[in-house]
């Protein structure tokens, strides 16, 4: 096993532990306070921020795994968040590889935009399209607040994932 492969494996293991920790934080009842009834969604921005430091193909699977954890912990459609995050992580990885410099500002923008997209697609496919009532109220009262609460943690998640990506690297 080469040094690069070993470092990659350790880094992915660190990401796996990070995902399990974030899943525990966001889904354990009464562990993390809810703001106006909305809970933060740590896994989505974490996966997207990791994709800024990883190549495209590993980013797809990182997004897929984070999405599967999100799907499983909720009552929605299995595979929905996995699909959304896999695609998002791929495009973020492509952007950062070709066009964007990875720094705090770009991480903040990409993190916030990706959280908004995940929340928006969640609202469209799991609330609006099934035909539930008061979609505007649901979006403003639950989904937007969840987005806002999650966006606050994007800088922290960026610093954590930057630490992992830079430290555990050949």
């Amino acid at each position: 096993m080469t040094s690069k492969t070993r470092h990659d494996l350790i880094r992915y293991l660190a990401y796996l532990l990070e995902f399990l920790l974030l899943l525990t934080l966001q889904s354990t009842p009464r562990l993390f306070p809810r703001f106006f009834g909305a809970a933060p969604l740590f896994l989505a921005p974490a996966a997207c921020l990791i994709a800024m430091y990883e190549p495209e193909i590993p980013s797809i699977f990182i997004g897929l795994f984070a999405g599967l954890l999100l799907d499983f912990s909720g009552g929605g459609i299995l595979g929905f968040h996995a699909t959304v995050l896999a695609i998002l992580c791929y495009f973020i990885a492509s952007l950062c590889e070709e066009y964007l410099q990875t720094n705090f500002v770009t991480a903040l923008i990409l993190g916030v935009v990706s959280v908004f997209l995940v929340v928006f697609f969640n609202w469209v496919f799991l609330y609006l399209l099934p035909g539930y009532s008061y979609p505007g109220y649901a979006f403003a009262r639950h989904y937007l607040i969840s987005f806002a609460v999650t966006a606050v943690f994007v800088p922290l998640l960026y610093l954590l994932n930057r630490l992992i990506a830079v430290t555990i690297h050949e």
Binding site: S27, I60, L64, G75, G79, A82, P130, Y134, A138, Y143
Partner: protein, 337 residues
């Protein structure tokens, strides 16, 4: 741009998306999922441990004040650690005993119930209707559509089952359509909800007659007519009676007895007397028309014939939809039965 679509990574993405869409369609059409069961098996122990630890810490006493002398302080610290450890063990045992006592209490009231106690290990961050996951699944005898109760009353139903965990949809969900009755007034309706009511912690008893006698503080229980829920499970207390949006019926705003947002433990009713059997006799009492009399005397479970013959403003039968699709599926179509 053209080169972008010919890259290896883009092809991998397309492949992954196709597989995920296949998984998505497959899990929507059948009940089980190998992927979900694997993830459930891996993550549920961590979620269980985290939930248990959080509850223990919240119930633990704060450490006592320490004395100033160093030796006495060290001795007391050690003693304190030992007492705290014993207290945590005691609280766990006490909780278990209380859980079994509640289960016994419900069993004594409803001796025909088969129940599985379960702990809530995670909640869905994105779902506005407070969907949660419990630590019991298919291998514990839980199946899709099983009612979920707490010691106070009805909580919801099992909407997804995996090997070691299950997802519970609460009565706050817009998918809830549960037959209920106010026994003292002999009136029936359907328990429903929407996001605005759910935010306030209420549900509603819909399809009441415009001349309804139901009033505030009346007790609402399940009818058990459809076979999805046992009879006489406490649902809640009427807060107010209001005219419905359609203008031809009324609904009652009901406050559930179960403190759904503060629950730690629930019970899944895996079997009860009358499960899966549609009982139309209460909807069509003997003094109704001859056509409905023959239906009730035959004890018909043909829901479509009930729907065509119904002449009352009450939706015949109950439904407990198990998916997030917003449909109200018929209980007898549950493939687990």
């Amino acid at each position: 741009m053209k080169k972008f679509f010919h890259t290896k990574s883009f092809r991998v993405l397309i492949g992954v998306v196709v597989v995920l869409l296949g998984v998505l369609i497959y899990t929507q059409s059948v009940d089980s999922s190998v992927t979900a069961n694997i993830i459930s098996f891996l993550s549920s122990p961590i979620q269980k441990a985290s939930s248990s630890a959080t509850n223990s810490v919240r119930e633990t006493l704060f450490p006592e004040d320490e004395k100033t002398l160093a030796d006495r302080v060290a001795e007391l610290e050690e003693e304190n650690r030992e007492y705290r450890r014993q207290l945590i063990e005691f609280e766990e045992t006490k909780k278990l005993v209380e859980q079994y006592r509640q289960m016994l209490g419900i069993r004594e009231e409803h001796s025909d119930f088969s129940m599985v106690p379960a702990a809530i290990i995670s909640t869905d961050s994105m779902n506005p209707f407070f969907v949660f996951t419990i630590d019991k699944g298919d291998r514990d005898g839980v199946s899709e559509g099983d009612p979920v109760v707490s010691k106070d009353g009805l909580v919801g139903w099992i909407s997804n089952v995996y090997k070691t965990t299950s997802v519970v949809t609460t009565i706050f969900s817009e998918d809830a359509h549960i037959g209920a009755t106010v026994v003292t007034k002999r009136e029936t309706g359907v328990i429903e909800s929407n996001i605005k009511l759910a935010d306030q912690g209420y549900v509603r008893l819909s399809f009441l007659d415009t001349n309804t006698q139901i009033s505030a503080n009346d007790l609402v229980t399940t009818t058990g007519l459809s076979g999805n829920y046992p009879k006489d499970i406490m649902v809640g207390r009427v807060i107010s009676v209001e005219s419905s949006e359609n203008g031809i019926s009324k609904h009652a705003v009901v406050k559930p007895y179960a403190k759904i947002r503060d629950l730690e433990d629930v019970f899944v009713i895996t079997d009860f007397e009358g499960k899966g059997e549609v009982d139309a006799s209460e909807l069509y009492p003997p003094e109704s028309s001859s056509q409905t009399e023959s239906s009730s005397s035959e004890n018909s479970s043909d829901v479509s014939s009930l729907q065509s013959e119904s002449s009352e403003g009450v939706r015949p039968g109950e439904t407990g939809s198990s998916s997030g699709e917003g449909d109200s599926g018929e209980p007898n179509e549950n493939p687990e039965e």
